[in-house]
Symmetry: C2
Subunit: 333 residues, 2 copies
């Protein structure tokens, strides 16, 4: 294992220490329990948005804390759910009187712990709603997951719900938006290499020299199929077909296309994938109205990418365009 780390058992704490120093003008990193929160939280009268999950997917979620996106994020150990006390503390820290939305990726530990945290916070008088994201079309059930896994749509839901909350939407409307974003999104990923969990010290799985794993999970969970690496055009066709056929997306649809790098894949390759995705969708009369290209939801050092499509209307596009100011996503006015 070759990584820029100190002791494997300290990677999350060490990375959060760097993150706290880098972003201390806007964010506060609490350490007991661990959560990252906007320095100006709670924002009175605004719905608070909280997400979280295992570390190793950076910048998700901590890099999405800030104006127009998350109010707080709870990072667990690598590929391990955070605990209910983290989520409860984050929920209380961002509750400005308008309630709190939990955006939860569909992994059994995350769902269970967020549910427990919601109950604890509710017992203290907070109004909490939770939405579970399950946009990965690759497999039905999976390691760590009953039903479909939550992947790229999480990033989109956090941005869009953050924008709605900033516009003072009430909790029920922000939660309904989150459910709608999930319902209108589909994703699929591919791995060219495994990732290596620091405490394990060796690759999570083995891929043969020319092999790829289609439908990979973000923790290296098995996908749909192993096959030989093909040109990007063919790989994208396979993934995009699975995504498009599942909803289904059809002629005349406008979409947000999200090409996400898994951590070990350079930007050049993501633009090649984007070009192929654009061609694929254009041939089917599906128009890319907005796009996000980069490594936003990673799997440690895994090489590979995922494709997410979200069906857009004008309202969703306007929420996408709304200002956001976080370490990882930033645009304005």
């Amino acid at each position: 294992m070759k990584k820029l780390i100190n002791r494997p058992e300290d990677v999350v704490a060490d990375a959060l220490a760097g993150f706290a120093l880098a972003h201390r003008d806007r964010l506060v990193v609490h350490t007991d329990p661990v959560f990252v929160v906007r320095a100006d939280a709670p924002v009175e009268g605004k719905v608070g948005i909280v997400s979280g999950g295992g570390s190793g997917h950076e910048p998700m979620h901590v890099g999405f804390v800030g104006e127009g996106m998350l109010d707080a994020a709870c990072p667990g150990e690598v590929f391990t759910s955070p605990t209910p006390d983290q989520m409860q503390a984050a929920t209380e820290a961002v509750d400005g009187g308008a309630g709190v939305l939990h955006i939860v990726k569909n992994y059994t530990g995350d769902v269970m712990n967020f549910q427990m945290a919601a109950e604890l916070a509710q017992a203290e008088g907070a109004e909490v709603e939770a939405v579970v994201i399950d946009d990965d079309v690759s497999v039905q059930d999976s390691l760590y997951t009953a039903g479909r896994r939550g992947v790229g749509a999480t990033v989109l839901a956090e941005k869009l719900c953050g924008a709605a909350a900033a516009k003072q939407w009430p909790l029920s409307a922000v939660a309904a938006l989150c459910r709608r974003v999930n319902a209108e999104s589909r994703s699929m990923g591919v791995a060219l290499t495994s990732c290596t969990v620091p405490m394990a010290g060796k690759p999570t799985f083995e891929l043969g020299g020319g092999e790829v794993e289609l439908g990979i999970g973000i923790h290296g969970e098995p996908g749909r199929q192993r096959r030989m690496l093909t040109p990007a055009a063919e790989l994208v066709e396979t993934m995009a077909s699975a995504v498009v056929d599942d909803l289904p997306f059809g002629r005349g649809d406008h979409v947000l296309a999200f090409v996400n790098g898994m951590g070990g894949t350079p930007l050049m390759e993501l633009y090649i994938v984007y070009a192929e995705l654009h061609r694929f969708l254009q041939e089917r009369g599906i128009e890319i109205e907005r796009r996000l290209i980069g490594s936003y939801m990673t799997s440690l050092d895994m090489a590979g990418c995922s494709i997410t499509l979200l069906r857009l209307d004008e309202d969703l596009a306007a929420l996408w365009d709304a200002p956001v100011d976080t370490p990882a996503l930033r645009w304005g006015r």
Copy 2:
């Protein structure tokens, strides 16, 4: 070789096709000769800023074209200088009557070709100045380079000179600023793995299981020393010592710290490096006033990072904070 590409000979064209589609609202990608330019170029009365170099370092330079940074960028083939006709066409496209600055990384081909382009453009009546960036302290001469190599300071110079040009500084002042940024910057990198050039199909060099190459060049040129991978704290101490001792930076200095990923390194590790760098500098009374953490100047799929320090004063800090709106760097007001 496992990459998300089509034919190895098409990677630059394919990636630029994706880039053009993704950013067509703001940028234009010309294909004969190849250069990327702001859609609103030339901006009348503003100094035009042009950079360029081999591809494989994305987002540098094409991702830095936009308001407040570059007016145009010329991408060559992978790790290969662009040609003078590209640079000449870009220069003419961005000349709004106030002259054009070429920001050139110190590689023999780039320097020679930019010089030829400047002469061609000058013969057509353009006012052109060129500044060569050579901030890498690792080695004196190198493969492809007489003198020191140009690395991370290039990104900083492009941002700062772009801000000065946007404030209508005259060409002589923007060029002087660029020389100053170069003079006040020092960098060093480390590779944990080689990169693989698509047309070569195999790693550029071999590193043993636990080895790293200190002082690596961004094309995989040999560095100072091979040694066994140590904890991040020790690696950072070695690199930061070389950087700090060279200028030298000293107690009371304020710096911009740039921790750059090489393409195959996830963000989590860069934050760990940043935490160690912060500790190292703090012990020496050097204060990090601004920071940039991410993969901005990559070497294809190489795992590793580089550290750049730039000595800041209030004027440089204000130029850093000025609005920038490019695919890869974006902040506002």
